[in-house]
Subunit: 364 residues, 2 copies
């Protein structure tokens, strides 16, 4: 028995073994209808992707990465797409147009590709004020300029009143894989350190509060920003020792950790006390009964780095704007595969499971 296995008691092992067996079963899309949970980035989303889309589209989609890769004439390209249905369209710290640029730029970035071009498709609701359309057009243009990416293609459709909510945006990003990047969601190995690029939960909480459904006012702004500078720093500092990155959007840090633990058949051990959370976010989350680890971010990434490169990688993250609070929050272990375990502030340990249902719909 290794020291690592010994860190989990026999009883725990047994329970975890049962959960793991259940989990290893092929994901199935067996729901009779689409529910909000299918859009939440948690268990239902994963079942839909693995049970429906991967069998249908196969091939490269089966890698379940944030961006698909393709070789054309020896150049490795990355393509990533996202639909944005955030409500409200504008919120403290950002807007749907800004998200549509940064979110897609970030999916490419964590795949090791710098975005070079974007396409934007708009689905507009009849009756949308021209001012709002203009504001989002401007938001897209300035976020694209800030991220150093060009909008080179677009499309617009209009649907009748109520058949959309103001607007939905779909953006697709094209980039070239950075030659320094050798990333894969299945490349995590026991011992890897888990780095988090900053404080969590700000985007999701900002959206919740902006909806005005709660009698709660707090100065929380979305963290939306391009993550390319952070990725660039990490690639420079860690190179091949950087095994994987993910941006922690829908479903938050907990969902990313669960997805990767399954994909790599490893366990994740996270120290709750090491996870940076701003006091306002922590307070609002507690009042609303939400765990910040499941709340969406739009400018934070998780990086998995070989132990000997972790210190340099963390230092690189901290020099980037928005990365000042970057922290090492845990490590990858071998057992029990597919599980995420949280070491709580009280010295206890609990399973940080996949999200079930959707506590925060229409967050991005």
């Amino acid at each position: 028995m290794t020291a690592e296995q010994a860190s989990v008691s026999e009883r725990e092992q047994k329970i975890l073994g049962i959960i793991e067996t259940a989990r290893a079963k092929r994901a199935k899309f067996g729901d009779p209808h689409v529910t909000m949970a299918h859009g939440a980035g948690g268990k239902a989303t994963q079942n839909m992707i693995e049970g429906l889309f991967v069998p249908a589209f196969g091939g490269r989609l089966a890698q379940l990465a944030d961006a698909g890769e393709l070789d054309i004439d020896g150049v490795t390209l990355a393509l990533s797409t996202d639909a944005y249905v955030v409500k409200p369209l504008r919120f403290p710290g950002g807007s749907i147009g800004e998200l549509a640029v940064n979110g897609t730029v970030n999916d490419l970035a964590v795949s090791g590709a710098r975005a070079r071009a974007l396409s934007i498709s708009l689905v507009l609701e009849e009756g949308l004020a021209a001012e709002q359309l203009r504001a989002e057009t401007d938001a897209i243009a300035s976020a694209a300029a800030a991220a150093g990416v060009q909008v080179i293609a677009g499309d617009t459709k209009v649907v009748e009143r109520t058949r959309a909510e103001g607007m939905y945006i779909c953006s697709t990003g094209l980039g070239r894989r950075d030659p320094r990047a050798t990333l894969s969601p299945a490349s995590l190995v026991p011992g890897d350190r888990i780095l988090l690029s900053g404080s969590i939960g700000e985007h999701g909480m900002a959206i919740m509060l902006a909806r005005g459904e709660f009698e709660l006012a707090a100065a929380i702004e979305s963290d939306t920003r391009s993550l390319w500078p952070a990725v660039d720093g990490l690639l420079g500092a860690a190179g091949k020792d950087l095994h994987c990155m993910r941006d922690a959007t829908r479903g938050g840090v907990a969902s990313v950790l669960n997805e990767l633990a399954r994909a790599s058949s490893v366990a994740m051990y996270v120290r709750e006390s090491a996870v940076p959370v701003k006091p306002a976010v922590a307070a609002a989350a507690e009042i609303l009964g939400l765990d910040p680890l499941y709340v969406a971010n739009e400018g934070k990434l998780l990086a998995f780095v070989a132990p000997h490169a972790a210190e340099d990688a963390l230092a690189a993250l901290r020099t980037v704007a928005g990365g000042e609070q970057a922290a090492e929050i845990g490590e990858v272990r071998g057992q029990p595969p597919g599980m995420v375990l949280l070491e709580t502030g009280f010295g206890g340990r609990r399973v940080l499971d996949q999200l079930v249902g959707d506590p925060l719909p229409r967050i991005c």
Copy 2:
């Protein structure tokens, strides 16, 4: 006075001159709200693109082509995106999933690029039957297989009941420009022959009838299909003599001709009698008071070819499945720039103007 100018009477010249001057004014997006017309592909759409999107995004978008181009490491790539909001989701001859593949593949094809990879973003309505989602997933997969393109990235969002209508799909295609292609929307020159790859109006009429709003039954199927084989044939037959291609989707043949006449500052002369229209489409269009020239197609293209290459190009089109009825329907002339003129069956001539409003909303 050239023979060409002589073909338009002095009075006509004067009237057309006035219209042209009005048209040459910078397009302006001055509407207070978004209307269905902004999604129709006609005048309102063009004002929105030229008055709002081009000033904001500038650069390559200003070329107003079906696909944006980008050079990465010496490889010329083409990127194209479209949102699909067709109603109903399934209709004779196709479905939204099939459209989402073929429509985007075709935008790349007419830009001279063969689609290599697709991304698919879904906006699903809560409550959508799983069967419908599965059917469209299968439709996407089989249309992609037929078109020889891989789905390599995707995203799914869910919105509350009524906030979409079943599903919207956004697809983005990536391709490499074919080295034989030297196309540009501004490269039309007087003398170019206008080729049409087959009979028109089937997609739009199939959708209208499928909605069941009219007491009209006719066996009309959508013409949705990949246009790459037709483009491949044209490039092989005409090479550099192929000046421009467009697929005649929203707004139909008339809208494409108007857009290009403006972009190239040329006139288009079209012989109505040469335009192939199936009897069932002609009959249904007459009853509904629609002109098939403005009705959407999803598997037809217009090609503009130098006169000496027109015969070979037409022959190539006719050998391709779906192109049996391809025809030369008119020619490009110098005067009056920006105008499309239709020579009617009765020997008369009328202006085939830009579409105003949206006679057929949610057609694709």
